[in-house]
């Protein structure tokens, strides 16, 4: 549970607000973050941030006001001041044409399912040492960059709706290294994720980088002509495709407002291939296990696509209130889990006998030229290779895919039988770890390649 001093201040302010008849929620977010950035074989930045944020939301009938303070919580009066400010904002607000919902902790939570004090307090020199080990083992003539973000996050939520409290504490880390050939300009990348100090192993990265570097050193890159190809998507590419597809396909707001690519379907309709099943599963240990949302709802397994059929839509509080639905515990990022198939361990094995295939481990800069048709575009980057009958044949230049989610997830020929974690966290705002659990690869037929550069 949150440290007693801060907790008491927040509870005192909450109770005081309740006595004054205010309807308020207070969420504390505290992070202890560290990031080491690598550029040109050196540590280019080594940062530490200890930050505390307080998000306050007040409802006044159909009016709402919110205020966020980044700074230490020093007294109940200070918390109350933020509540009062939000209340004044709510009083001046334009009323909505629906009644908004107040966050309400429906079930007390005190969880730290994936917390490791050793990771929270990891000595940055450990990171520097592992990077140095990788540079040395793979070859110091290459140009290396990368980043290693690690840290802890605490979230504490209460509201005037009841006396219950929800608390989560966790640690997380995302390690990446990029190897670039100084003259030939090709780039390889490796990533690892985890929540414990010992989760990152230099050996695994060294083995993978060496394997690809061997091919890239020996065989020149090739340009892919536009057309339809069998593509093997690696876990990062698969997770990104799934994340975008679900964000725009099962999002209740986009669906209700006719912007979703599923808007012309009903729940129960087949929208993707029969071999695609996707569940929001905060209980999956590969997803950082965040057990409640910002609305105070306990998160549980929530299927969204079952055997290709749209099985449910996800509703945040505002959308639920506006469209008369029940909120589904999605006042947070979903924990996407794609069900595995029966494919062999190795993607190379999976495409044996299939002729030419393109292996695209990650998609760079994906975007959506036509959301309502499910059209996406993005380009290959890092370690992309042409496969011939299950053998790595040649590196490929930066190649653009422009296709639809329905086509890609409708033409999956093989799904790996092994599920892996893909860390999808960013560090734009507050520390908020998110990960998807996806098959380690998917073989997809008839993927549209629309452009290719003449360089990596």
């Amino acid at each position: 549970m949150l440290d007693s001093g801060t907790r008491e201040m927040i509870l005192e302010a909450r109770d005081d607000a309740r006595r004054r008849g205010l309807r308020a929620s207070v969420m504390l977010h505290r992070e202890n973050s560290h990031l080491m950035r690598i550029g040109n074989n050196s540590v280019s930045l080594n940062t530490s941030e200890k930050l505390t944020r307080l998000d306050v939301r007040v409802l006044d009938g159909n009016r709402e006001g919110t205020h966020t303070v980044l700074g230490e919580v020093r007294s109940a009066a200070q918390v109350l001041e933020s509540i009062e400010l939000s209340a004044r904002k709510a009083a001046s607000a334009v009323p909505k044409d629906y009644t908004p919902m107040l966050a309400e902790v429906r079930e007390g939570v005190d969880e730290s399912p994936q917390y490791d004090a050793a990771l929270e307090n990891l000595d940055p020199s450990v990171k520097a040492r592992i990077y140095a080990e990788i540079f040395e083992a793979v070859g110091s003539s290459y140009n290396y960059s990368g980043s290693w973000s690690s840290g802890s996050m605490e979230v504490y939520l209460v509201s005037t709706a009841n006396d219950r409290e929800a608390y989560h504490r966790g640690t997380d880390q995302l390690f990446s290294v990029v190897l670039k050939h100084p003259e030939a300009k090709w780039e390889l990348q490796d990533e690892q994720t985890g929540w414990k100090a010992g989760d990152i192993a230099a050996e695994a990265t060294i083995e993978r980088l060496k394997r690809y570097a061997d091919l890239y050193e020996k065989v020149p890159g090739i340009r892919i002509e536009p057309g339809e190809y069998t593509v093997v998507f690696g876990p990062s590419a698969l997770a990104e495709l799934a994340m975008f597809a679900l964000m725009t396909g099962v999002n209740g707001r986009l669906y209700e407002e006719k912007m979703s690519w599923t808007a012309q379907n009903a729940v129960g309709d087949r929208v993707l291939g029969e071999n695609i099943t996707v569940v929001d599963d905060p209980g999956n240990a590969l997803t950082f296990m965040y057990g409640f949302d910002a609305g105070g709802i306990r998160r549980r397994k929530f299927p969204v696509i079952e055997a290709g059929r749209l099985s449910a839509l996800i509703y945040d509080m505002a959308t639920a209130a506006k469209y008369g639905k029940e909120p589904t515990g999605h006042e947070c990022e979903p924990s996407i889990s794609i069900a595995c198939g029966t494919g062999p361990e190795s993607p190379m094995e999976a495409v044996k006998g299939m002729g030419r295939a393109l292996f695209i481990p990650a998609i760079h800069y994906m975007n959506l030229p036509n959301v309502s048709k499910g059209v996406f575009t993005g380009s290959s980057r890092f370690s992309a290779v042409v496969l011939e009958d299950g053998r790595m044949a040649a590196p490929m230049f930066s190649t653009r895919i422009t296709d639809s989610f329905q086509n890609v997830f409708g033409n999956v020929a093989v799904l790996s039988s092994r599920q892996v974690s893909v860390n999808g966290s960013n560090t734009y705002g507050r520390r908020s770890p998110v990960a998807a659990a996806v098959p380690s690869y998917a073989v997809v037929e008839k993927v549209r390649i629309t452009d290719c550069a003449e360089s990596f």
Binding site: I38, G39, N40, N41, S42, V43, L45, N46, S48, E49, K50, L51, R63, E64, G65, T66, T68, V69, L70, G71, L85, K89, A90, A93, V94, D97, Y98, D123, S125, A128, A132, N143, S145, G146, S149, S176, V177, V178, K180, E257, K258, H364, Y365, M366, N367, P369, N370, S372, G378, S379, R381, S398, R400, Y428, R448, T450, D451, A453, S455, F456
Partner: protein, 494 residues
């Protein structure tokens, strides 16, 4: 909580202590206040009525050629923050192949204030909502399914101090605003038209700018009218043709395919692990033909009214006005102190003479990195939009991005836009929906065939440029005229 004067004294002591401990350089940015307000009406419902306040100190220490950074929102612990930054730098210095050098600069003492007439944080919330609600009402029609009107205000007061002896105070203010209408087309798919608050590059930049009809509000009728045509429009067909970019689209083209590839940290490989690299090399400077003779691009551009105008960067360098591309030839990059020193060291010659003043951090808890200021295409001599249309045989005019996807070295791109107008034999013929275009950067700018004059030029504001690790969202501007490119692939196959 420490008083501002007390924090300043602690920073001074911290810088001295870092130097005494052997640091080559140290600086701190103290955000005494960082205020934000975000108001969004969605179908008339006030879905965002948010304010934010943050204050704190960010400290950088350069020790052994390596950066250490630490930040705290607890202004009573500035000394500990310096200790942490120093410790981080010492740790980082154990793995340094390329030593970072800030060099010795003379102290800079100065201040900068964004030109403000009416501080939006002094305007009553009910007045702000009254303005937005009135605009929303004007966009209301039975056939319009979704309406969005929003405004965002920012105010920052920053004290910068460095071991150069520099002391700079900045008071920065921004206002951004957007409006959008959406309706279903004949296939039952949602189409949209939008408009963002822009500036002329002159005048003041706060509440009063938002209230200037020509810069924002007066466009409500236009976007409604354009949406009504768009929902009845034909789908664009795949083909090669000229593309005329209005400033609402041109700014993003410049941003993604000139601005980002010319950030020197990116050229030197410091962004590889996240945003990507650049096809530009140090050898490209002064030699690379980036575009046709009609392409002239500046950094900063002495634009007084823009989010990319800030007086001094977060290294303490003055923001500098200079050309990046001169008649199609690449002549400079977006540069900061340490990156200039490293680039010149690597090249073994003076590729860059001065720092361009582009190092910026988005908040006290982020370290400065190279960011765009105002990256501008200078006005040309090809007249107005209608003049350019009159000289176009087969093309489309496009406006406002819906999608952007760019290759990792910025060598190729794909953009989707809200609307296109077909041009045949010098005349606009019809509206087309779902326009997209794609190309390869150098080939594309090489096909630049028309650049509108000053009458077509305006400053588009950007409030969401993402870069760096830890990630940072930055505000900046792009002055752009109407521009035309030839032989561009448009639409999608099949």
């Amino acid at each position: 909580m420490a008083s501002p004067d007390g924090v300043k004294e602690d920073i001074g002591r911290g810088i001295d202590a870092a130097l005494s401990a052997g640091a080559e350089y140290a600086d701190a940015r103290y955000f005494t206040e960082d205020l934000s307000e975000n108001l969004v009406l969605y179908d008339g419902n006030l879905e965002a009525n948010d304010t934010g306040f943050q204050s704190g100190v960010g400290v950088r220490v350069l020790w052994g050629g390596a950066w250490g950074f630490a930040a705290t929102s607890d202004t009573g612990s500035v000394t500990a923050c310096f200790d942490r930054a120093l410790q981080n730098a010492r740790t980082a210095s154990r793995l340094v192949k390329v030593k970072i050098r800030m060099g010795k600069n003379p102290p800079v003492r100065g201040s900068y204030s964004s030109p403000v007439e009416v501080d939006p944080f002094t305007v009553d919330l009910s007045d702000k909502l009254g303005f937005l609600t009135a605009l929303d009402s004007r966009m209301k029609e039975d056939w319009i399914l979704r309406r969005i009107v929003g405004a965002e205000f920012q105010k920052r007061r920053i004290l910068f101090m460095s071991s150069d002896g520099s002391e700079i105070e900045k008071r920065l203010a921004n206002v951004f605003a957007t409006m959008m209408v959406m309706a279903l087309d004949s296939d039952g798919r949602m189409q949209r038209r939008s408009m963002q608050l822009y500036t002329t590059g002159r005048g003041t930049r706060c509440w009063e700018m938002l209230c200037e009809p020509e810069l924002f509000g007066a466009h409500a009728e236009r976007i409604k009218s354009e949406l009504s045509e768009l929902v009845k429009a034909d789908q664009i067909e795949h083909g090669t043709r000229s593309v005329i970019l209005l400033p609402g689209q041109g700014f993003l083209q410049v941003h993604e395919t000139i601005g980002h590839p010319l950030e020197l940290d990116r050229i030197l490989g410091y962004e590889l692990s996240y945003a990507g690299g650049s096809f530009v090399t140090l050898d490209s400077i002064g030699r690379l033909r980036y575009g046709s003779e009609k392409l002239n691009v500046s950094s900063y551009g002495s634009i007084e009214n823009s989010p990319g105008t800030f007086g001094f960067d977060d290294d303490g360098s003055p923001e500098r006005d200079y050309l990046l591309i001169d008649r199609g030839i690449l002549v400079n990059a977006l540069t900061s102190r340490a990156m200039v020193n490293e680039a010149n060291d690597r090249a073994g010659r003076e590729v860059f003479r001065d720092a361009g003043g582009v190092a910026r951090a988005t908040a006290f808890y982020r370290a400065p990195i190279d960011r765009m200021t105002n990256v501008n295409i200078l006005p040309g001599t090809d007249g107005t939009l209608e003049d350019i249309v009159a000289s176009t045989e087969n093309g489309i005019i496009v406006d406002n991005p819906t999608s952007w996807s760019i290759g990792s070295n910025r060598e190729h791109f794909h953009f989707g836009c809200e609307i296109a107008w077909e041009v045949r034999d010098g005349r606009r013929t019809r509206v087309l929906r779902n326009p997209t275009y794609q190309g390869h950067t150098l080939e594309f700018y090489g096909s630049l065939s028309a650049v509108g004059d000053e009458r077509t030029w305006r400053v588009e504001q950007v409030d969401n440029c993402g870069k760096g690790e830890p990630n940072q969202v930055m505000q900046l501007g792009h002055g752009v005229p109407v521009v035309r490119f030839d032989n561009v692939i448009t639409g999608e196959r099949g």
